[in-house]
Amino acid sequence: MRDVAVVGIGMDKWGELWEKDLRDLYVEAALLAIDDAGVDHVDSMYVGCMTSGLFNAQEHLGSIMADYLGMNPIPATRIESACASGGIAVRMGFMEVAGGFSDIVLAGGVEKMTDISGDGATFALATACDQEWEAYNGVTFPGLYAMMARAHMHKYGTTREQLAMVAVKNHANGYHNPNAQYRMKITVKDVINSVKVAEPLNILDCSPITDGAAAVILTTVENARKLGKPIVRIIGSGQATSTIALHSRSDLAGMDATRFAAEKAYKMAGKTPKDIDLAEVHDCFTIAELIVMEELGFVEKGKSGPAVEAGETAIGGRIPINTSGGLKSKGHPVGATGVAQVVALVEQFRCEKGECQVEGAKVGLAQNMGGSGGSCVVTILEAE
């Protein structure tokens, strides 16, 4: 297996981008990554996207994006695993370079979510849950995560305020990210007084509907040195699945796919949770970040709420989480999210984060998951 490095990153402003369509978003991010890497060609491409068919009536994304990038006839493949599509696109690119099938791979992700109504977007996103057992009965993702929040509060005594503190922290970070969708600082009171969505979750506990794309260029470490780029290696990658329906899980307050994916990634990297300097995790709802912290081994089960309250995951804390603003503030164009997490880590290693810089960070972890945790991919990066 060859050593693989991330040599190029590309991401533009996320938000409600009314003037741009699906292909504009992807092509812009891809070109930024190509420019950043300084490569003159790409051998292969993976496009992470959850449901452009429902959002934009456009499938066949591998071909259309290769076409609009002027890259035909390279092989290009669409990856779909709900909100984990982007992270898995990065993993597929990593495997292709590591396995020696290609030398330079572009892994990107995109979602253009505002072309349809709010109800339409809710329906499209709900296709990532179990249609027969969950969606059929009227539940949507805020409802599922609200049940997880209730279970976590009941089992571990997690408080409403601790949930809110996740959003407060991520917005404080996103405030400094020029690409973030919602760059405003909020307070615990703001979160608790915001509009109810599914109790105990309010609107400020939920990640938004976002248009956006992100892309990375992966190549061998040997090539990366020739390109003269700072070396950021992918040292661990793990992927796992769990039951797609929440009610089939043995623990409503846990996410075992994250645990399994993390175990594989830690093993490949030869690292433990203690070795991780910072992480980008999938905070689609505030409760998700708390559960994921526990499954990644950053804190003991049930201790995530107090850890956030103690500032352990803030910048300057023991393990800063979501210094980019996370899904909550940066936005959540579902297919792009996993790629953007890798972009955020590379920016940290390049010391490009300004107010949000984690000094001396060398090892970072990205955790990206689909649905209510039915799929998960964990990527561990290390800077030289």
Binding site: E16, W18, T114, V195
Partner: protein, 350 residues
């Protein structure tokens, strides 16, 4: 060339009201969220026998009282609305007949979503300016509809404003006009559909704000004025928040919007919204003051007008009921059942 402007103005606001809580109660919705989100607490409701025509007649009669002219001298009547009672047959003929402006009169109904009213004002002003008529009457009126349970149901209201344009007896001179328009489909109703559809959040940034701010900035540049040289600002008001934000971005403090910011208790009167705001502002404006009005209509576009108030305003404002008086006095609060009856959402069996 002599000045052209407003000779007389008048508004008509129905007495009936429904509160946000009453609508939210029926749909199991959170009233506080709507009140906070839309920044409005109640809206006007037309009675079963009030429509765009009857509200227009009432507003025009008030405008005539203030103008003090013989209605036969009105050479054209224009009504902008998206709730004309007839799909084929003008509203304007009935209004012109009712006020005594017929038969030597040109008449047309306008449609441009919520800016149909200022379309009429623009054409009325232009006709007087061109010298083809002595006086022209322009009306913005609506009995707007929101589908039951839709967010629009909390704001869709009723009201009318009428303006007589001419060259003499002016209470406000039109100093500048400006229009800003693109093809932006944010809100629409197809033929045979009872309720409009909308693009949710798309109605905000790329629609309302782009056009209102575009027109606001455009007319200020055209006039060579800055916000501090304008005394009062009125923007289309589909909810409480949008005009306040537009005002802020154009440099107007809330105090400059307050007189014409009626939406918190009036609701969104669509084609009547910014014109009614103008009537309420004329009710309190002092001679010499400048007023900027920017309408907005989905589809989408904005018309902007700068008016300069004259001495005559003090003589005429109390010749008819002021707009705030109509809004604040003698309301009749409806429960949802009566509201549904008056709005034709339920029909009596015959």
């Amino acid at each position: 060339m002599t000045d052209v402007g407003i000779v007389g103005y008048g508004a008509s606001i129905p007495r009936r009201r429904i509160k946000v809580e009453e609508i939210a109660k029926v749909w199991g919705a959170d009233a506080e969220s709507y009140k906070k989100g839309l920044m409005l607490t109640e809206k006007s409701v037309p009675a079963s026998d009030q429509d765009t025509i009857s509200l227009s007649v009432e507003a025009s009669k008030r405008a005539l009282k203030r103008a003090g002219i013989d209605p036969v001298r009105i050479g054209s009547v224009y009504i902008g609305s998206e709730s004309h009672p007839y799909a084929v047959k003008p509203s304007g003929t009935t209004v012109a007949e009712a006020i005594g402006a017929v038969p030597e009169c040109h008449c047309a109904d306008f449609e441009f979503a919520c800016k149909a009213g200022t379309e009429g004002m623009f054409v009325a002003y232009s006709e007087v300016k061109a010298g083809t008529v002595e006086y022209s009457l322009a009306i913005g009126a609506d009995t707007s509809q929101g589908a039951p349970g839709d967010a629009l149901e909390y704001s869709a209201a009723a009201g009318a404003a009428a303006f007589i344009f001419g060259r003499d007896r002016l209470c406000a001179i039109v100093t500048h006009t400006y229009s800003y328009m693109t093809d932006t489909p944010d809100f629409w109703r197809r033929e045979y559909q009872h309720y409009p559809q909308h693009g949710g959040r798309y109605t905000g940034e790329p629609a309302y704000f782009k056009h209102v701010l575009g027109a606001g900035r455009g007319i200020l540049k055209l006039a060579g004025l800055t916000a501090d040289k304008i005394d009062w600002f009125i923007a289309h008001q589909p909810n409480g928040k949008f005009p306040l934000r537009a005002g802020k971005e154009l440099g107007f403090p809330k105090a400059k919007l307050d007189p014409g910011w009626l939406v918190p208790t009036l609701g969104n009167t669509y084609s009547g919204a910014s014109p009614i705001g103008l009537t309420a502002t004329l009710d309190i404006a002092k001679p010499g003051q400048r007023i900027l009005m920017v309408s907005y209509g989905s589809g989408a576009g904005s018309d902007a007008f700068i008016f300069e108030v004259t001495e005559r305003i003090n003589e005429i404002r109390d010749l008819a009921e002021r707009t705030r008086y109509q809004l604040e006095h003698h309301p009749i609060y409806l429960d949802y059942g009566n509201y549904a009856k008056h709005r034709g959402k339920i029909l009596r069996s015959t």
